[in-house]
Amino acid sequence: LEEPLIFEIGKAEVTGVDLPKIDPAVPTRLAGLHRDDAIGLVGLTEPETVRHYTRLSRQNYGIDLGFFPLGSCTMKHNPRLNEKMARLPGFADIHPLAPQNSVQGALQVIDELATWLKTLTGMPAVAMSPKAGAHGELCGILAIRAAHTAAGNPREVVLVPESAHGTNPATAAFAGYRVEDIPATPEGRVNVAELKARLGPDVAAVMITNPNTCGLFEKDFREIADAVHEAGGYVYCDGANFNAIVGRVRPGDLGVDAMHINLHKTFSTPHGGGGPGSGPVVFSEALAPYAPLPFVKQDDAGEYYLVEEEHREERGPTFGRMTAFHGQMGMFTRALTYMLSHGADGLKQVAEDAVLNANYILRSLEDLLHAPFADSGPCMHEALFGDKDFGGDLSTLDLAKALIDEGYHPMTVYFPLVVHGAMLVEPTETESKASIDQFIEAFRSVAQRALDGDQSMKQAPYYAPRRRLDETAAARKPKLAWSEPEE
């Protein structure tokens, strides 16, 4: 059964909530601006609503259903205790502007989470308010620009490796920087010599992902950082892949000045089909003064309070405010719950198991599939393959869609751009060996078909809720809202 749209089954006169009838005789104080025309909404009763969304949900794939090897996205299990804790009324039902004496426990949670993040990264400060990873990146780059500006010159260029996430150049450009690529070595790491050669007084910062998007640890990171600092620049580390090293390596020890942390990737907050995220940013001493408002402090009496615009002394030369309130509290409670559950020992194990699983996949597939950096040493938490030797005119996309028919969500495809037809497989630490073995078997089978040029793959998926969707048509003549069918 196909599930219709709510607008096709709902009715304007139907509602799933019981509210008092409107008494038109009661005077209003709406400045005469009554909404007289129909809004155009439709309602469903609760039985219909629950059924509609339950049916829709069954057209989705989620971690709860199976292995989700999306490289760089770190789709790990979302513990249900996190969900339960986030729903405690003492967290879920408090107002962001509530008098601070009435929300001490909430401010304490923010402070505790900040302490965990600082300790795990070995960094002295953290900005909690960024709403997602990309927002965190922005926060980091804005702090860098503010620091340079305070020193007299914002500088002009940000260096970004070719293999970076698209958000890196987008963020740097937003902050008014020109983006220049850093080339990669054949083994998949930043070319240190070329990077060093490019450094100079016009370079504001380098943005490097470590472990990088080829799945490798940038072994020369510290050397790069020292050179950047030498040249008066700052080092931004994209923390998307922090999961590979959490509890084992502290970015602060590598010379990082700013790094955002995607709470959903490393600390298991649910991805929710596209957010909400949360992207706290840790800062070095040099950048800490420029961190955005508000942040939580404890006064001498042990009472927590928010440092905001009005605290002229404590706020320092902050670059300002990035969002209305003080961050993604609902994600903070989940992340802190996760951290407390794992502890220092468990988080170390997280990184180790994530890396172990990825290497196991790499070594179980490298005989069959082109693995461009297989000889560059162990991979970190993800294994990268390319589409070399695919038969016919089959592409990575075809393999991905064929994998859907095997019951799996595909890996990340065509990223990083430095590898042709890239396939980035990230198992995470929450998969069992049995699950990974089963995936390897399925993956080998579709990979073999791709190498053999099995043309039937071009029509895959066959067994998904939908066959391949026409994305070109969607973009050519966008239909972005439902409208009543014409008679």
Partner: protein, 458 residues
């Protein structure tokens, strides 16, 4: 470790397959200087569910939950009743644990929901197209300003004084980096907002005028003439709404000529959550502006068998394709909050939305009437939806709010907190009333206010 399925036997077998002697062999690329010799110090070791639950509950219990007190806070975040089935839906693993729907064949659940969500938002706002959501209202507000710059190729934004101060601060923070000029001011304490003063500030360099509706003091006014004035100068009107429930009773921004409508969607389905995650809503009245919009868009298409289906579309605007030329650096949306909003909105429907708005307004009128009777309390507003401004004699409102909290009443938001240091606003208290407010709550607030306002200042 309850979340880690590998056993030591598994680990040994896997290392053997890899050809590594130990797990340390997989971390050889980490420079010596950054290698730790054990679990990070100064952090506790792993703990049972029960222990973690105790830890978190101890913190939660230190907070006064809105449901446990007479509650009147608003100023950009409103407490509404969320039907129980909303949480049932968003806890479905297929929604909760899904990724961004980049593989549409196995993500139709999220995609169809987003398409329905976009339609709901567009209609509520009186617009043609809404996106799949942004982080929150304040960042959406900035994105609207930035978009107006792209559309008009100008870089001056005029902010109404009655725009939420946090929103204004976000815009000003961002503008520091983009070089935009922002004209703003604090709100004047008067019954009607000064729209003439606002329109007077629009000039030929102006990309947009940003007006909140209802505004930060709760006032409602007809923005058609602001739209006309803006359009006359080639500028866009951006209307910001922080209380979507209001739009069940008052004219939509689109109907009044707004070009971009943005707002906070938290009121519907999402809840208070101490400020986040919230839900940024973003819509444009004229479909021609679609390609300048930030954020994700879900569109209708067909599959290889001709069946209707949905995909993320127009992604050439986005950073993963455009990189440094993207319309915005935004990557995620607020998918799960959008789902909660959409489920709640589906339960409400046209009828429920109108009744909900009417009930909010009815109770707010009741509260305004009652509180106005308290000696030393004056009602500023002649128009309001579910939030209004009281002028209090005696102590600054900020102190009064703290004292009320000590007495177990969450009595409102003081303008002194929102606009610290501006003397004219020190005695103003914003009071929000929703369908969750009881008449007893109102009576309690009135009585407590009476007691505190009348107290001699210390």
């Amino acid at each position: 470790m309850r979340y880690l399925p590998l056993t030591d036997t598994d680990r040994g077998d896997m290392l053997a397959k890899i050809g590594a002697g130990s797990i340390d062999d997989l971390f050889v690329d980490v420079p010596e200087i950054a290698r730790l010799d054990g679990p990070i110090r100064d952090l506790p070791m792993h703990a049972s569910e029960m222990a973690v639950e105790r830890h978190m509950k101890a913190r939660a219990n230190k907070n006064l939950a809105a449901g446990d007190a007479p509650f009147f806070l608003g100023a950009g975040a409103y407490r509404h009743h969320i039907p129980a089935s909303v949480d049932t839906v968003i806890q479905r693993g297929e929604f909760l644990t899904a990724y961004t729907p980049y593989q549409p064949e196995i993500a139709q659940g999220t995609l169809q929901m987003l398409f329905e969500f976009q339609t709901q938002v567009a209609r509520l706002y009186g617009c043609a197209v809404a996106n799949a959501s942004l982080y929150d209202g304040s960042t959406a507000c900035w994105e609207a300003v930035a978009m107006a710059g792209r559309v008009t190729k100008r870089n001056r934004a005029v902010l109404s004084g009655a725009l939420h101060p946090h929103y204004a601060q976000v815009v000003k923070t961002m503008a520091q980096f983009t070089g935009d000029t922002i004209a703003d001011s604090a709100p004047a304490i008067q019954t009607e907002p000064d729209l003439d003063g606002l329109t007077a500030r629009i000039d030929d360099e102006t990309a947009c005028v940003v007006v909140q509706y209802p505004d930060i003091l709760g006032r409602i006014s007809d923005l058609s003439k602001v739209a006309d004035a803006a359009h006359a100068k080639g500028a866009l009107l951006i209307v910001v709404n922080t209380e979507p429930v209001a739009l069940g009773a008052i004219m939509s921004p689109g109907e009044m000529g707004a070009d971009i409508v943005v707002g906070e969607g938290q009121s519907i389905g999402v809840g208070l959550q101490f400020g986040g995650p919230y839900l940024g809503l973003f819509a444009v009245r004229d479909p021609k502006h679609v390609r300048q919009m930030p954020g994700r868009l879900c569109g209708e298409t067909t599959d290889a068998e001709g069946k209707r289906g949905f995909v993320l579309t127009l992604s050439t605007r986005e950073q993963h394709i455009r990189r440094e030329k993207a319309t915005s650096n935004i990557c995620t949306n607020s998918g799960l909050c959008a789902l909660a909003f959409s489920v709640h909105m589906t339960l409400l429907g046209e009828k429920g939305m109108r009744e909900l708005a009417a009930e909010n307004h009815r109770l707010a009128c009741l509260a305004a009437d009652r509180l106005e009777k308290v000696p030393g309390v004056k009602l500023l507003n002649t128009s309001f939806f579910n939030e209004f401004t009281l002028m209090l004699d005696g102590k600054p409102a900020r102190e009064i709010v703290r004292e009320l909290a000590d007495r177990g009443v969450l009595g409102g938001v003081s303008l002194g907190r929102l606009y610290p240091g501006i003397e004219a606003l020190e005695h103003a208290l914003l009071v929000a009333v929703t369908e969750t407010t009881t008449e007893d709550d109102i009576e309690t607030l009135a009585n407590e206010l009476e007691r505190i306002v009348m107290e001699p200042a210390q």
